[in-house]
Subunit: 333 residues, 2 copies
Amino acid sequence: MSSIREVSRVAGVSIATVSRALSTPEKVSKKSLRKVQEAVEKVHYRPNMMARNFRAARSHSIVVLVPNLANLHFATVIRSLEEEAHKNGYSVLLGDTGGSEERDQEYMNLVETRQADGAIQLLAHAKGAPPPPDHIAIVNACGAEDTPYACVRIDNAEASKTVVDYLISLGHRRIGVISGLKSNPHSIDRLKGYTQALSNAGIPFDANIVVEGDFTIASGLNAANHFAAMKNRPTALFCMNDEMAIAAIQGLRNHDIKIPEEMSITGFDDIEFSRISDPPLTTVSQPAKEIGKVAMRTLLKKINGEGIAQETIVLPHELIVRKSTALAQKQKG
Amino acid sequence: MSSIREVSRVAGVSIATVSRALSTPEKVSKKSLRKVQEAVEKVHYRPNMMARNFRAARSHSIVVLVPNLANLHFATVIRSLEEEAHKNGYSVLLGDTGGSEERDQEYMNLVETRQADGAIQLLAHAKGAPPPPDHIAIVNACGAEDTPYACVRIDNAEASKTVVDYLISLGHRRIGVISGLKSNPHSIDRLKGYTQALSNAGIPFDANIVVEGDFTIASGLNAANHFAAMKNRPTALFCMNDEMAIAAIQGLRNHDIKIPEEMSITGFDDIEFSRISDPPLTTVSQPAKEIGKVAMRTLLKKINGEGIAQETIVLPHELIVRKSTALAQKQKG
DNA sequence: CTGAAAGCGCTTACAG
DNA sequence: CTGAAAGCGCTTACAG
């Protein structure tokens, strides 16, 4: 409650001197400094950051847009994002959009109305999306190919191809997919890697074994039921994230389908649960922490008007082979 | 960039009229209103919320302190918290403390320096902790008993007792524990329920089978190894959250211990993964969304100076019986 | 219904 | 080194 004015009164100096004592103590005499410090103590002065930020025209906040905070990959990226922000004196405003375009807009308004200095989006934009207005600092963490935004991501297509190549190397030829929403740019990029791997191996694409999920456990379970009921079932499943993959394992097991003996399953992200699923999940890891750190640094640079070397930064992924995949059975017909 | 001043210039009215047209249009003539609206369009005016908030002495932000965003129970509470905040025109500032006292302090400073109007803590305070200063609006979601803060929570002791009672009803007499950090108030409350259930059943407490974890998957795995190596192993394990329980299941299985045949396992929270662990986890559910919603509402009331009916709100828990628990084997010695 | 003015809490040229 | 003053963008009594 007490302002700089009260401090000045108690210290017997002007508010200008108080301000200087607080922010640039070297510009103030020892004596004034001491008087101010004592007064600050006495009146329990705490600076009003709203005033400070307002005057500096810097909110020192970043809004982070995420479709689903309860997705462990995103949660991990955000932790790292937040840590990096904190180190640089910034706070993060959480914007869980639940996948809604409208919410996304509302949160972007925070930066338009200067409640935030910039934004980081953890969702990928549709390919045709218009680039953000110039006055808005924004970076896309976990983005997709061809996004018109500055972007920090892995090569989703390549990563997917790596996993599917691995399945093919195990002898699988009929490889199903549990994808995210088909309109989701991540789904599109990852499907691209899948079809590439297939075509390289001369395996025809079969749309019937690509089932749409939405990156949630529930959708993985649904998809599993669908595959279980299929007559000509795939021998392997490429799942576009770990949540759906782990759900699929359990969903399939509910139908007495053995993993990996009867079906190999792969995930995407390498969340911690993948280590302790049964069987442990073969997946491709994303450097979630690194993505968060680099994305925040990139955004902060943008905000501070420092040039950014590259608009798109692609970080390495890694195939993690565990026990949910096995050689295709030599069963015929 | 354009301020209310530019709008006033373009519209040919005073800034007071512009301000009124924007916030209380009924106090302005139709003609002025139209002129202002046109000018707003023309100069792409967006209000500067930093100025607005500063003047109103309301940041319209809430800081949410959480020890670990990547904990699924917390993530779920936060989503709900945030949704409720959003509905009321508030934003949430994320404060992931990683369990550090220091970080906690730093984030609480946001409210002291008026970058936030209040705080919600998802961690429980130590019993002896001093109550928060009066001028700070704060509520504890997921708190512990006897916290000196306004608090929305389940009855942790009772919920724990319910689970352990259930294990006892299955014939288990040697029931191990994987706890959180022993200093953590949740651990304390939950251990209380455990010992109560034991003593009600006339089972002596054995400190050797209470192993300390920290609510993470890694610590669950460690604890599992510890139990696996034990000569006189418990027949059941009460784990203080689901992450540790699911990790324990897998950790134990790595030692060829069958769940639930050789050991029953229970969790706490009922995160979504509990449905798809193998076997699905018997646990006690917390109404995470409800906790978040009620906590935010309570805080907002506090901020607006509306009286709060009760300082502590206890929400119901529920025992969820799945397949990770079974009758104790009639094995002797 | 309207405008001129004060003021929210700070910082920073400017003059001394 | 110090203080008086202006100003950041808004809102709101106050007078008309």
